[in-house]
Structure formats: C-alpha cells, structure tokens
Symmetry: C2
Subunit: 332 residues, 2 copies
Amino acid sequence: MINKKMILVNRPTGIPEKNTWSFEEELISEIKDGQILIKQQYISLDPAMRGWMNNSKSYIPPVEIGTVMRAGTVGEVIQVNNNTNFKVGDFVSGWGGVQEYSISDGKNYSIIKDKNNPIHRYLGALGMPGMTAYFGIINEGKIKSGDIVLVSAAAGAVGSLVGQIAKIKGCKVIGIAGGNEKCKYVKEQLGFDEVIDYKNDNIYSSLKKYCPEGIDVYFDNVGGEILDAALAKLRMNARIVICGAISQYNNTSRTKGPSNYLSLLVNRATMKGMVVFDYKNDYPMAINQISEWFNQGKLKSNESIFEGIDNFYETFLKLFNGNKRGKLILKL
Amino acid sequence: MINKKMILVNRPTGIPEKNTWSFEEELISEIKDGQILIKQQYISLDPAMRGWMNNSKSYIPPVEIGTVMRAGTVGEVIQVNNNTNFKVGDFVSGWGGVQEYSISDGKNYSIIKDKNNPIHRYLGALGMPGMTAYFGIINEGKIKSGDIVLVSAAAGAVGSLVGQIAKIKGCKVIGIAGGNEKCKYVKEQLGFDEVIDYKNDNIYSSLKKYCPEGIDVYFDNVGGEILDAALAKLRMNARIVICGAISQYNNTSRTKGPSNYLSLLVNRATMKGMVVFDYKNDYPMAINQISEWFNQGKLKSNESIFEGIDNFYETFLKLFNGNKRGKLILKL
C-alpha cells in the first residue's frame, strides 16, 4: 500500500505558498507490535494550523520541518497488531495529520461509538470547533439568558455554533460575516437575531443599530478592526473571549493590537484567551449535549467538503480567502 | 473673601496648553442653608485628570467647559450654615476642584478623624491612589504569596504602593521606572526586588533576566510598549490589571493597542480594566489596613508637593514629563 502525505518543508511568511509543503509517497511498512493502521477518511482544516507552522512559543509546539503536517482526522482502523484497545473496523478520531494512512500506538485516538451522526461531524460540531464553541461561550463567555452576544466569523465552523448555542441559552445574538450569501445563511438558516456584513456594512453604525445598549459578550475569532469595533460597544462588566485572530495570522508585519482596549477600563470588562485543550476532560459531556441538540433539531451544522489529498493546498487557502462556509474538510 | 480657581475653557488635544484653563477670581458669596465652606489645603494632581478633560464617554462624565477643573482635595471646614454633619474645624476630603475655597452641601465630603497621618496623605496612600493600589493588586490582580508581580510607573503614586503591598503579601516584585534616581528609590527605599529603567534598559532583556519564569500579574499604569513587553512574558493564567495608560493620554493619533495581546490566548491569561470607585463601600477597611501598615513601618509613601494655585499648570505637566516622584500634590 502507498501512503500519500504532505510534509512541511518551509516555514511560511504571510500566506503559505505551494512550496510550503512537499507532496510525498511512501510504501507503508508492516506495523509494529502494539500499533494500529488507520485509513483516514476526512482531514480537518482549521485556521489554527497556520499558527502551528510558525517557529514560536505557543500553546503546542510547532510542526517540525520534515514531518507530516499536523491535522485532526477521522478514519477507520484497518490493521491491528496486538493492541487490545482497538479492533479492525473501529472508527476513530485523532491527530492523523495530512496523509492518507496513519500508524499509531492509539494513544491519541478515540473510538467513535455513536452511529447517529455522520463521522465527519467529529471534525466539526462534535470535534474541536464544537468543543471550542461550547466551552468558549459557556465557560469563558459566562453567558446568561438575556445577554447580548456578538460573534465574528459567524458563518464559520466555530462562530456558527457559538451563536446557535447562545440562542439556545436565551441570548440575543448578532453575527458578523463577509458577503451577502453568508449573512443570509447566518440569519435565515442559523437563526441569529441580526447579522452584519463586514464587507459591505459599516460595523460601528451597524452595531449602534442592532445593539444600541451595547454588548455583554464578544466572541472573537478574527481580531483586527472588528475587535476594535466590539471594544467600542462594550457594556459594563462585558467579557471578550479571545479564541483566534484569523485577520492577523498571515501578517508579515506586527499584529495589530486593539486600539480601543481602554474600553476594558471604562467598562470594567475582561478580555481572556482560551485554548480548547484545557477542557479535554469535559469533552464527552459536551459531545453528548451537542449531539442531543442535533437530535432535537436545535442545532445546524454545515461542512464545506472538498476531495483529494492532491487538493490540500488550494483547499487550505479557503480558510483565509473566505471561500467556504462552516467547517472546512478534506475528504480522502 | 476672594476665591482663586482654574476653569476649564478649552478641551486640549495632546498635552494641555496654558490656555486650556483660565485663572479666575471671584468674591465668595454667603453660603446657603445646608451648605459648608471649605478652605482647601491640598489639591491632588492625577493622570486621570487628563482623561476627564476629553469629551468622550468614560467612567465619569467629562469636566464641563466653563466649570472648575475637577480634582480631589483636602481642607478645613471654616463655615457651616445649618448642616449637622459638619462643624467648623473639621478636616474633610472630597472633590473640591482646583480652587482655593469650595462650597458644598457636604455630600461628596468625608470627615478625616484620624490624627496619626498627615492630612495630605488622604490624597495619596490613604486616598484614591492608595485605594486603587490596594483593590487593584489584591482584588483585581488576585495576588498570592510567591507570585511574580510586575508594576509600571513604580515610583508613582499608585505603582509605588502596588509594589509594596505585593511585597507585604509575599510576592516577588519587579518595578519599571524612568531614570536612575527613581530606580534607585524604588529598589533601595521601597524594597522592590528588582527594577528596570525603561529610559536606559532594554525592557525585554531585563524581564528575561529578572523573571526568566515569567510574570503572574502585571499592574499596568502606562500602556504602550511596556504593556507589550509584559504581554510577551506572561505565565500561564496570568492577570493583567489595566489601571491606566499614561503613555497614551496625550496622544493625538489613535491609542497604540497591545500588539502582543494574543499572548492572552497562548497563556490563558486575563486582561481586565478597573475603576477604583467600584470599591467605595470598602474604602474604610482599606484605609485602616494601609494606616496599620504605615504604623508598623511596612509602607512608605512619598509626595512631591508644590505650592500655589498660580503654579497649577506647570505642576500639572509634571504628571506627564516624569519630573516628580510619588504622589503629586499642590499645596495652597
């Protein structure tokens, strides 16, 4: 059997170029004692991957040059060599990376027992983006019924769930997304109360219109000017959850800091960073809850699925050019 | 009797110019039923006053054009007209503004009963700067013994107390101040563990030297590049208390936002704004505690006292040109 894989060969500055990775093929060797062989079915593409490519201190070590590009995956166990935790035919989720097959001792994989959800949802609403949305808005944002919640990247994998969960919890939710089509989706399909098109609307005046009383919670996926606009509209004791800053990930100059940060002082507000891994002991509880919301028809998810490891590079770029909706996935 | 007073007549852009205020004299009229007349002895000069002059939404309304410049004061009651809460000879602290006499119904004044402390200390360690330092580092910074605490404007009215309180509570304290003389004072007189001279030292490499393990709490009075340097050295679950941003108050361009704010995410850290007025119900408790520390010789305070209301303008500028130490006070 041949494994096709994407190896990180150059650390990018700015938007990754094609020569950031090298596409390689290798013969799959016999798996060793205790190992399992997984045929990967779906690869998760996440904005965070851009950060993992920088050689700087962060919440996990950078991907090393010469190794398979790190990515979350789901797949099927097709060989087991003396490992009692897995059997052939198990579906698993884990960190398989951007390749067609992965070999592991199984430590970073969990078996998906659930038959009610499509397997690729374990990369989206039941995977890292779902966990990020759930713990981010509930535990970090500390939402309560009646709060006014603003969410950026509202049509994205995390933002779309953040807003829907806040609605379930009784909040008024305003989304920010780019372009008419996404905005329509956010309001009509996902049920946000209001949506602001950052490509065509003035964010400051739209916020004035949709939440004249200000914002209790801002869930930030983007940073930049949108973070500044949110800061300018904080209510007393507001919370800003810093989940990401996609507008800044490909910067070649210094990150744009939030000029309006002194609004934190005026409004006794809090800005706090979160990393979803801190909640890993509570993932099963959140997966059950999100799964239940799906069964009850209270949650919708959306995946943009593209096919073929050969198309990894072009698909990856869709994370940053806005050319996708919901969770971005590569199908093998 | 003639009252001399400073009236705000122009809203400044950048550093206030002399024509920001107009110096006026008026004959003091008879005080009305229920009023008291206070002969002011000391006027507090605080960086926050610069913010109160801007016509923008903040934690208190701006000083109105044509009114006496707002300032904290201490003085002596010299006339009482049918007000049982005060008697002639009482020493009071309150918001008398930049003038020699003030007339009030007494609502914003408290009587100073304490005879152990010099009266002007009620504008410093036992006044707003002391309350800010106490609640800022204890309630907002949530310090615990062993924490590594960084304080900017360490020779200033608030910073000097923040660092000393953190030392009392068992923290390792690093101060940042400008110039050799101030730094010597901070380390030798105030007992900080280390001090960084931002005018002569490289802040990043000094932080690396003095706290290689990083910072648990940063108490920020200054904003700008120093806030960025602190963000770059945060430890896991660190807290940044935003008390002020003196480096930005006279900006004529946009406030410099903290470029390194994504360190909040990497380190699951919190940046929170504080306004001391929120703690006003607990001021008496904090005043007792600070007073006790003075009696025990555990705290030192320092005041830069200048004389004469005619010198208000030149004295006020010392807040921003660094040409003072500790609490800046105008004596009448």
